[in-house]
Subunit: 454 residues, 2 copies
């Protein structure tokens, strides 16, 4: 029987990161990744296959980092894991004995059972599967009218990219605003305005009721309002579910949302300390609300994978995964949106006493410089203690890193008052001006409100 | 006699920020700014007047923010301040009585007395003075060969911008690498390589000995090596000195570098609690070495100005200026460099036991995306405790905000180990990949070295 010290099941972002982290932290251990796909896609790059990249071949995660470290890649699938016996059966036959196993089986797109017509030809989902997406891309090339259902990040980015390539795209969202899980209304409205300006038709406050077919192919979509819209293809971006069939079959315990129950070291609950789960398939809690979270992000998955890798053979209490902050960004043309922590609306729903402040400035200075973009920072701060618990930004492409600044402030429990005296670096070509840096100005607005309350 | 509650002397970045902070924190107090100039330049934008902006009119700081708050602007100059009597004499005549005064008199470019030929026609410095710079710009338009002396930020940016506009530019620096006060050698070398590629001639390891004139105008420069280089004009970017003539005349105590001695609330030492100084004229200490610092930055000046404004009438122990972190950036074409805290070289010179780690990745992902730029992050970490004390970055324009992330990590005394489990947000168009985000990877390298030592 083949033996390996650390077996990683799944080769997506979390599997790759887990492999690198395991091998880097324990170079004397042998590490193997079992994955189905010969080539693995960069998950966040998938919408760009249909536009800016124009081919999935340009969106492949390189294996070289793993191979250079000496990680073995096995193209196969695990049929079942014997948790007690520390072995895994492979689909192609054979068995692997392991000391430690990391489940990194990812997620699969949701296709609601109640949705009539979901199995018609030209109804697509967006799995992280190169072969599926290549076929889909080919099929879409002959079609014109596209309806995207669900305006989360994937739906928004798919719609924008396909619109850019000349498809006639309608984006349908049941919630009153797009991107509503990640952003407060004012940011969602801004994103909608940009999408519409760029040519995407956006319908909010209405869901899909049924997909209608002619000769087995999509011909239209009926909305919850009763309207019927012609369509050649429908793209369902209605969320993802943890891919935990293998875990379930192998006897691991799932939480009520279907995620593998894990602790803060990413060890699977009620198992020996040799069984780990990371990424989209693993249970997460919200950093702030401490509720179970269903937000799946490649960046969060990689952080969890690092935690598992570090704690495989030696636990460290300062290397735990403290709950998901849900830091993410999206771009629409030259504009971009970022969010970290909790939105104002979600904070209020969850009974946080919050004080918020927004400031709009610019991302270069003076504003006469070519390419200067408006930049808005909104801070969501705990009213009783001043801790920063959320932030949202709108701006040019530099807001990706600015969002990470917000993420670090939240993760380090930074008090908004420290921003009042904080030093920043500024440069005409790279940031707003030192006298009107939106993050600091937003903090000043919050601090003033806090003072008025005290 | 005119009376004002808060008098601010100087209208540059620090004066403007001090005025806004004073009036925002104490809206019932009257605030006036006395400044010489009708129009004030954005300080960091000055090199761009000679290139990208092509006119100083496009680089003016708007007064509207101050005026909207009700700050009075007085175009005049203060001749002397009676510190005990709480009055200021104006040059145009008249006196102002004040409760509080903030010195924000800035800095002036250094023109070394030992430099023969420094007073020839077509020898320029870079003061923050619109009238001077407009005349200089006009004069330069008729000239061809420019020698810039001193490769700090101003020298580098002036050289790059003027080269872009068609001038024949030679940049001369006494140190072996350019930008050596802010960056370690590997970053300085990279910057030099870029400048040279763009057409700037760079001479390092040689200083200027003498400027030679013909008919009273610059004709060449003799270097310390004896070489003579033809020149139509010389730009001295050899640093700035605090503008403290008024402070000295008014009896304030200066430190050995000529800065007004201040405490962490920006109150002037050995004075009543009504006298403040901020910005380039005010004493600073290095956040890490605790030594007196001579680094002058508009962004640091604005932070000090906020501290003074907040503490004018009411001290808060959590709103102090804790020492300069010296966070700054510069751009050369589409590439940019950022630094925060201490460099490796300076840390070692100052007897810090440091461990460093560098990682080079990309700033979008996958790397096939158009406009993807290499991104390098170097972390400088205290070897005994893991505290992050410095960071340097090279990349595209998003590194401005990334540098601020480094700044916040340093200011909040964050341990490098927290980066191992840190969550980040990533997006194809905006950041590196979650599996190879340079900041996290650099932290992993440092953590590994720390572990090997323990």
């Amino acid at each position: 029987m083949k033996k390996v010290d650390v077996l990683i099941i799944g080769g997506g972002a979390s599997g790759l990161s887990a492999a690198i982290s395991s091998k880097s932290n324990y170079p004397d251990k042998s590490v193997a990744v079992v994955r189905k796909e010969k080539q693995v896609l960069v998950p966040c790059g998938i919408p760009y296959i249909f536009g800016s990249l124009n081919s999935s071949d340009r969106n492949v995660m390189p294996d070289q980092g793993m191979l250079d470290l000496g990680v073995e890649i096995i193209i196969d699938e695990v049929d079942i894991v014997d948790i007690e016996g520390h072995t895994a059966d492979l689909v192609k036959g054979g068995k692997i004995e392991f000391e430690k196993v990391i489940f990194a089986t990812g997620s699969i797109p949701t296709k609601p059972k109640w949705l009539k017509g979901a199995d018609l030809e030209n109804v697509f989902t967006i799995p992280k599967n190169k072969i599926y997406l290549d076929e889909m891309h080919d099929q879409l090339k002959g079609l014109k009218k596209i309806i995207t259902i669900g305006a989360g990040f994937i739906g928004v980015e798919m719609s924008d990219e396909m619109n850019k390539e000349g498809w006639d795209v309608t984006l349908v969202e049941l919630e009153p605003t797009i991107l509503s899980r990640a952003f407060d209304k004012e940011f969602g409205d801004k994103a909608e305005e940009l999408l519409v300006k760029r040519g995407v038709k956006v319908i909010t406050g209405k869901g899909v009721k049924e997909i209608i077919g002619t000769d087995g192919k999509v011909s239209s979509v009926i909305l919850t309002s009763g309207e019927e819209i012609e369509a050649d293809a429908v793209i369902l971006s209605m969320g993802y579910a943890p891919n935990t069939a293998l875990a379930e079959k192998s006897g691991l315990e799932l939480n009520k949302f279907g995620f593998i129950k894990t602790c803060e070291y990413m060890r699977v609950e009620n198992c020996s300390s040799d069984i780990f789960a990371v990424g989209d398939c693993a249970e997460k809690r919200d950093f702030l609300t401490r509720r179970l979270s269903t937000t799946m992000l490649a960046s969060t998955a990689c952080a969890e994978a690092r935690v598992a890798g570090m704690n495989l053979y030696e636990l460290s209490p300062c290397k735990v995964f403290g709950g998901t902050i849900a830091i993410y960004n999206t771009a629409i043309g030259d504009s971009a949106f970022g969010t970290a922590g909790i939105t104002e609306e979600r904070a209020r729903q969850d009974n946080f006493d919050v004080v918020v402040g927004s400031f709009t400035g610019i991302d270069k200075h003076p504003r006469t410089l070519e390419g200067t973009h408006e930049q808005t920072v909104k801070l969501i701060v705990a009213g009783d203690c001043g801790m920063i618990i959320g932030g949202e930004v709108f701006g040019g492409i530099s807001i990706g890193e600015l969002t990470n600044t917000l993420g670090f402030l939240i993760q380090n429990h930074v008090n908004v008052k420290t921003l009042l005296t904080a030093q920043i670096g500024t440069h005409p070509m790279l940031t707003g001006s030192p006298a009107a840096y939106p993050l600091i100005k937003a903090a000043e607005i919050v601090a003033k409100k806090l003072k008025c309350r005290s």
